[in-house]
């Protein structure tokens, strides 16, 4: 099934400011705060423009407090932008919150939309009625779900008896149940074990493929990004600092590769190769001139490192990049 609207989300110069009370410390300060009119303005989202076509999986990344959740809340209609235009599925979300909600699904990794003390099947039936899903469509969806995951043991379990992984899985199924045009996943894999993460990634990927659902995914797990996202948007301090696909991301600081060579005496030596300056072959021949090489490994730089670099770089106010190898030592993660 193809969705008619080709642009699922259009944001133009969207700004969101919050008024925050300047709190004072101590008992006296707290009492003063009771009558305080001393507000300051915090800009959570600063002039962001993106348009997301239907059917895409977009990774929406940024360090903690960058403004990701605020953006998602604006897209879902829970928050109203301070200025700028925001169109979701062809309508303005905060003006038509109820109508907008019919066409979106949301999973917040830390919360659940399911009914805590009811078996999952009851939650599904309830959602079927709330979203007025026709019987046929509901049955098709349930059939699809049981093809994709081992649904039967989950259905008759109450949500409070579920493990975190089962609950997240159920929440994702619930979000897709009414076949929404857009699904927002806010840190869906937070706190899950490796195999559950893989399961959930497969599920999201399959549902996106079969239902052509647009998926907006925020995460801190680069595994999610690598597995799912065709496109990546990175924001920090409310500002957009990157918007492109994942391949371009790897060359964001130029194209880097890591060459590991094993020298006689079983010593591994690592070199980071900046491909704009030199190339792998010439580095290898340099080694060969010095002595015998026992083994060679060539590795791509991981998304995780690039993202980390981008975050750090943004904080350092675009300080000169002083060699990507430095950040490698800090991560301590084998590539």
């Amino acid at each position: 099934m193809k969705k008619e609207i080709d642009q699922a989300i259009v944001m133009e110069n969207v700004v969101k400011e919050f008024k925050v009370l300047n709190r004072h410390e101590g008992l006296r300060g707290s009492i003063r705060d009771l009558f305080s009119r001393d507000y300051r303005t915090v800009t959570a989202v600063d002039n962001i423009s993106i348009s997301i076509p239907g059917g895409q999986i977009v990774g929406y990344l940024g360090p903690n407090g960058a403004g990701k959740s605020t953006t998602i809340k604006m897209m879902t209609g829970v928050l109203e932008p301070t200025s700028g235009n925001l169109i979701v599925n062809g309508c303005v979300p905060y003006k038509n919150r109820t109508k907008n909600c019919e066409n979106i699904g949301v999973v917040f990794g830390q919360r659940s939309q399911l009914w805590w003390s009811l078996p999952l099947i009851e939650s599904f039936r309830l959602l079927k009625d709330i979203y007025l899903i026709p019987d046929r469509q509901y049955d098709e969806m349930m059939k699809l779900y049981s093809d994709l995951v081992d649904l039967e043991p989950l259905l008759h379990k109450t949500v409070r008896q579920m493990s975190l992984g089962q609950r997240t899985l159920s929440d994702i199924l619930a979000a897709f149940l009414h076949d929404p045009k857009i699904v927002f996943l806010d840190e869906p894999t937070i706190g899950l074990d490796v195999s559950m993460k893989a399961k959930i990634r497969d599920l999201i990927k399959e549902l996106n493929r079969m239902k052509q659902t647009t998926v907006i995914l925020t995460t801190h797990d680069m595994g999610d990004v690598d597995a799912l996202c065709e496109r990546i948007v990175i924001i920090d301090h409310g500002r957009m600092i990157y918007d492109n696909d994942i391949d371009h991301l790897k060359s964001y600081f130029g194209s880097y590769r890591i060459l590991k060579v094993r020298l006689p005496g079983d010593i591994w030596e690592e070199t980071v190769i900046d491909e704009s300056k030199t190339d792998v072959m010439s580095v290898i021949s340099d080694y060969q001139k010095k002595g015998k090489l026992l083994d060679i490994k060539l590795e791509e730089i991981s998304t995780e490192e690039v993202i980390k670099k981008i975050y750090e770089n943004e904080t350092n106010e675009r300080k000169k990049i002083s060699g990507i190898d430095k950040s490698r030592d800090n991560t301590g993660i084998a590539v």
């Binding site: 109820t98 039936r125 309830l126 009625d129």
Partner: protein, 269 residues
Amino acid sequence: MNARKYLALTRAGIIQELQFRMGTFITVLGNLIYLTLVYFLWRSIYASSPTPVVNGMTFNDTIIYLVLATALFNFLEMYLVWNISRKIQSGEIVMDLLKPMSYRKLMFFTFFGDNITTFFLTFLPTFIVVFILTKGAIPVGTNLIWFVISVGGALLVNYFIDFFVSTISLYTESTWGINIVKESIVLLFSGATIPLVFFPEKLRVVVKCLPFRCIYDTPLNILLQKDGYTPGSGMWTMLGLQLVWCVALCALTGIFWNFSVRRITVNGG
């Protein structure tokens, strides 16, 4: 609007409430303790009175009234303010705002399931026990129909008052105090703890102009066929008054909530 989604919510509310049936037994136990207290309190009030009829009510009248008021309280009280304020504090309210229906309806129909469950589990048994024990002190006739209609009105008025107070908690974030004040005011001015005829004349005039009386005073006196609440003597005025308050409070809470939610969506929360 489509009734299907609202019925589904109510159904889920009933199932959910039934899961916590232990709570019902505890409620009944608590009632017994409370009613024992009420019994001895009013017995000494009547003992100190020179006549067996005080303000047009005998001791039996008063006790029947208060027992039924307690049963009605269990049935009407949904602790909506606690629930909504907890949702606001934890941020869980976001999940509710993402449902394709108005928050007021979502909450009403969810808690309506509770109402139905407690009606059958606590109100009806209490009513039957009181009816048998007092051997005909409760008149049986068309007043039962008017009583049920009036309870419907009471339910709505009570819900709107609760929803109004819950909306205030969007601003204050801490709601314990507000909720205690609300409960005290409602229980006192609605005639749930003391029948309104016992109020001093001047206070009674004021209380009769407030919406709270629609919750306990009106339905109970219609049930007990008190003077001024019978079809011949002003029952229609009382039911009309309930209707007027329902409409007025419905409009008021709607405006207040929409205004407040807009403020929250503008300033964040």
